[in-house]
């Protein structure tokens, strides 16, 4: 029962993200745009390039959607509302989201096109930049929660949310989450201005619809993961828990979509240099600080 509720909420969340993204990029708030563009995509032809790696080309969008949906299964929206409360929940989110990279490599190598090829391998460089900045902050969160259970992580934040307990970890995780969902300013694989759509360019029709569905699900899943790890999940005064979860996820999604509009795309060289030379030392420092805090405050 809880599974169907959460999957329906996920579909509603994806629709909401689509409406928000259309509103932010075109400036017109219209509830029907995502539905219309979805049906239009279904109605258009879906072309397969002439000499593709057919398995990669077909599997990539499905794998992107799969990895986003599986990562959403361990997200608690309410004390009882979670699909599978895995004992290694935090690790499982990370494991599911790694297959976004595999999907993008397949989408890059599959169509045998120049832009897709560059886009695919650039995303591998992007993973090398952000992967450590996802793992280390989660480690700090787990240190405080003493367990990998996502429900336990939320419960451990009841007095003081993690965003205040370990702000450095929050900032690093937020940036790495935007890089994982290749949202601007980290849209290196699907850069419209540099690679004419890059990895997404060769998809059309229903395959493009699945690819975009996967990307939107990825955004809503990452937003809810940020809420679970750093913003105290369903906890909050006055309002019922499910309302708090919804508000926080919506707020994080809007921040993620807005933050990208206000700056140009980062270059891969700078992304790698900043993440490795500044990000990882800060992440290690964050672990060290949290280590001391956990021991000092009983």
């Amino acid at each position: 029962m809880t599974t169907t509720i959460i999957l329906l909420l996920l579909v509603f969340g994806v629709y909401l993200v689509a409406v928000l993204e259309a509103w932010i990029s075109s400036g017109r708030f219209r509830l029907t745009t995502p539905i219309l563009s979805g049906i239009a995509l279904l109605g258009r032809e879906s072309i397969v390039p002439r000499k593709p790696d057919r398995i990669f080309f077909e599997v990539a969008p499905v794998l992107l959607l799969l990895s986003a949906v599986l990562a959403a299964t361990v997200i608690p929206l309410m004390p009882g509302l979670i699909i599978t409360d895995l004992a290694t929940g935090a690790l499982f989110i990370n494991a599911a989201l790694v297959y976004v990279l595999v999907a993008m490599l397949m989408a890059g190598w599959g169509p045998d096109g120049a832009y897709a090829m560059v886009g695919g391998w650039r995303f591998l460089g992007q993973l090398i930049a952000y992967a450590m900045l996802i793992v280390m902050p989660i480690t700090a969160v787990v240190m405080r929660a003493e367990s990998l259970l996502t429900t336990q992580i939320v419960v451990s934040q009841d007095g003081l949310w993690n965003i205040f307990y370990q702000p450095l970890g929050f900032v690093l995780f937020f940036i790495a989450a935007m890089a994982l969902a290749f949202l601007p300013p980290f849209d290196l694989p699907t850069a419209t201005g540099e690679l004419a759509g890059g990895v997404e360019a060769e998809y059309s029709g229903v395959r493009l619809a699945v690819f975009r569905l996967g990307r939107l699900t990825l955004i809503i899943t990452l937003a809810s993961a940020t809420v679970v790890f750093y913003l105290g999940g369903w906890q909050g005064p006055w309002l019922p828990p499910w309302a708090w979860s919804g508000i926080k996820i919506l707020a994080v999604t809007v921040t993620m979509l807005l933050a990208g509009r206000l700056m140009p795309r980062i270059s891969e060289t700078d992304l790698l240099a900043w993440c490795w030379k500044l990000g990882i030392p800060l992440a290690l420092l964050n672990i060290f600080l949290v280590g001391i805090l956990v021991l000092v405050i009983p």
Partner: protein
């Protein structure tokens, strides 16, 4: 009805899909969204959504007249669109290679809006049809040839295995219609790039002749010798290439003839010369390098392997080792011999000016080489320039669809110079107002294109809307828009990541043939306005920077926008230049005007009021061949930013002798 409909009866589900598509019109603009904005078209307001790839587009929007060189590219884009697709042409006649236009309308915003209405109804009713014809055109035909994936310069007409490395050849389709020998310069060692590849070319040529005398022998049965690759009659093993004895000795002696010491460039190890000197690619002086012992004996080593083949374990010598295969490949800056692929960033690339024919040779995501073609061939005469003055001026303005006022002013001033007329001060200052208004509109258009290329969504929408409002604004509206533009420029100063994407990229030393903002950003004070008395009267002073990189060019253009706003305030009136009536005179006149991209110069000779000869010099002609040095060994993102910062207009490239 639309020509690109899908096959199917317009039943319930398909009707819903047709109406959905008619409401979600994704558009690919030819020659480019920047040209559409320059013509004052606001596509978003009309309900069209611009997309980056023809795969995502339902409507092909053709704006203004398309030069002959772009007809093939437009056909290719139309062929690559997904059905249901429609062709929407604004303000030009259709050209042969595209199907007949579904909607045609005049080149203006209201022409666009009622064209979009017709498109919506056409899609709603005609997206699905029972009789659908396939689209085909000569530009799309293919010719099959066989090549080796490791040595793409091999191009045989029948299957077999590669003479160089024995791998089975793969099918490769090439353009049939162009007919020109489609020799792929995949790796530079074969390209006839004289100064760079002397060493390599000699090597490759030597290799090529070497291949002709290669024999094929079976590792198990050395007595089996064939000229063509194939499988051994005795044991069915596939045969390997082996150089015959005589060839080998000549080859060896030729190696000794080379001086024991070769000179190579630390940055470009593929540049190999016998004598000392400076590297043709980057000018650094070459360092001596003895031919390392391994290279010589490796060569002989390979020969040694191939001779006493039989006694060694036959399995592992079947394929050529990577060292042999990549011996002649050019090495990148980190010494790795990689294959370079040619990727077109051609006429309709979303991040670059529309119509810029560009092909980049990519080594991974680093640009190793770049090739551009001008839109108008020198010898191919432009649309017949008719002799009478009014048509002549009208056709001159077509050279610069992005800056028509500047070219019109250029023609008028040349005519007045020929007739020796003097124009009154307030007409001159009104003309200055019009020119500065267009300069601001052009710089805003460039900002929008730069933002589109670097993924800066807010700036792209803000600059595009300001540009559209600005080029139609009269004096009062300009006053109100000035405040918005000032706040935009202030906001740019505080944008994170903007500096790191532009500082140090596309650095240009100051040299004479730079023009316009690109020159002023490198410290070259080359500005026609500083010597024009009307401008000095309005209090003009030139703006310049010195670093000469993309950031400096951005700063110069922003400063010019602010300065031009002040000039318009001072001139007080805006009025498009109209040709004065010069009557039947025969004389020569010349003029130069500071167009938004730099100084354009026109000389024309009149005979009894008819223009018989004219020579036009445009700034982008000089900037086109700056692309190659700017993008050499740069990351793709930096290279595209550098090319974008030049603000090229492919329409005005190629200084032409216009013979009427």
């Amino acid at each position: 009805m639309i020509s690109g409909a899908r096959l199917g009866k317009l039943s319930g589900l398909r009707r819903l899909v047709a109406t959905a598509i008619s409401r979600d019109l994704t558009t690919f603009v030819i020659p480019g969204p920047d040209i559409a904005r320059a013509h004052g078209l606001d596509l978003a307001a009309a309900g069209l959504q611009i997309v980056a790839s023809p795969r995502h587009a339902s409507v092909l929007l053709v704006v203004g007249d398309i030069p002959l060189a772009l007809h093939d590219a437009a056909t290719v884009i139309y062929a690559q669109m997904v059905r249901p697709r429609a062709l929407f042409i604004l303000g030009t006649e259709i050209f042969s290679s595209l199907p007949d236009a579904d909607i045609m309308s005049r080149l203006s915003q209201d022409g666009l809006i009622d064209g979009v209405q017709q498109l919506r109804t056409a899609f709603a009713e005609g997206a699905f049809r029972l009789d659908v014809a396939d689209f085909d055109a000569p530009a799309l035909q293919i010719r099959i040839e066989y090549t080796c994936s490791m040595h793409p310069e091999i191009a045989l007409n029948e299957p077999g295995s590669c003479p160089k490395c024995g791998m089975t050849l793969i099918i490769r389709e090439t353009q049939a219609s162009t007919g020109r020998a489609h020799t792929k310069q995949k790796n530079v060692d074969v390209s006839v790039d004289e100064q760079m590849a002397t060493g390599n070319e000699h090597n490759a040529h030597h290799h090529m002749s070497d291949a002709a005398k290669v024999e094929f022998t079976c590792p198990m049965h050395p007595e089996v010798v064939q000229d063509a690759p194939g499988s051994c009659p005795r044991c069915g093993m596939n045969l390997e290439p082996r150089e015959t004895k005589t060839e080998h000795t000549h080859d060896h002696s030729q190696m000794n003839h080379d001086a024991a010491v070769q000179y190579t460039c630390p940055m470009h190890p593929e540049v190999v010369q016998d004598g000392p000197g400076s590297c043709p690619r980057c000018g650094m002086n070459l360092e001596p390098r003895e031919i390392t012992e391994s290279e010589t004996n490796e060569h002989s080593g390979m020969d040694h392997d191939s001779t006493d083949h039989s006694d060694m374990d036959h399995g592992d010598m079947a394929f050529m080792s990577m060292i042999d295969v990549t011996k002649n490949l050019p090495r990148s800056t980190d010494g790795l011999p990689m294959e370079w692929t040619e990727a077109p960033f051609g006429p309709f690339f979303p991040g670059l000016p529309g119509g810029l024919m560009l092909t980049l040779t990519l080594d991974g995501d680093t640009v190793a080489d770049s090739k551009t073609q001008p839109l108008f061939e020198n010898k191919e005469l432009l649309p017949q320039v008719s002799p009478d003055i009014v048509n002549f001026i009208q056709q001159i303005t077509r050279f610069g669809p992005l800056s028509p006022v500047a070219f019109q002013l250029l023609a008028c001033q040349a005519l007045e110079n020929a007739a020796g007329l003097e124009i009154s001060a307030n007409v001159a200052s009104a003309r200055i107002g019009a020119l500065e208004q267009e300069r601001i509109a052009n710089h805003l258009g460039w900002l929008a294109l730069f933002a589109q290329q670097t993924g800066f969504n807010w700036l792209q929408r803000r600059a595009a809307s300001l540009q559209l409002k600005f080029c139609l604004a009269d004096m009062q509206q300009i006053a109100t828009l000035a405040a918005d533009i000032q706040s935009l420029i202030k906001r740019l100063g505080k944008t994170p990541l903007l500096k790191s994407r532009t500082v140090g990229i596309g650095k240009l030393a100051s040299d004479s043939n730079l023009r316009g903002p690109v020159a002023r950003a490198s410290g070259v004070a080359n500005d026609v306005r500083s010597t024009d008395k009307n401008y000095i009267a309005l209090g003009f002073e030139a703006v310049s920077q010195t670093q000469g990189d993309a950031y400096a060019r951005l700063q110069v253009r922003l400063a010019e926008i602010i300065h031009s706003l002040k000039l318009i305030q001072v001139s007080g009136a805006i009025e498009r230049p109209t040709p004065a009536d010069t009557g039947e005179i025969s004389a020569t006149g010349e003029a130069s005007v500071e167009t938004p991209r730099g100084m354009a110069h026109l000389e024309l000779t009149l005979q009894k009021g008819q223009v018989i000869a004219a020579r036009l010099e445009t700034p982008s002609t000089y900037h086109l061949d700056l692309i190659k040095p700017l993008t050499e060994q740069q990351a793709l993102a930096d290279a595209l930013v550098a090319i974008g910062s030049l603000d090229l207009s492919p329409w005005e490239v190629q200084s032409r002798e216009i013979q009427t």
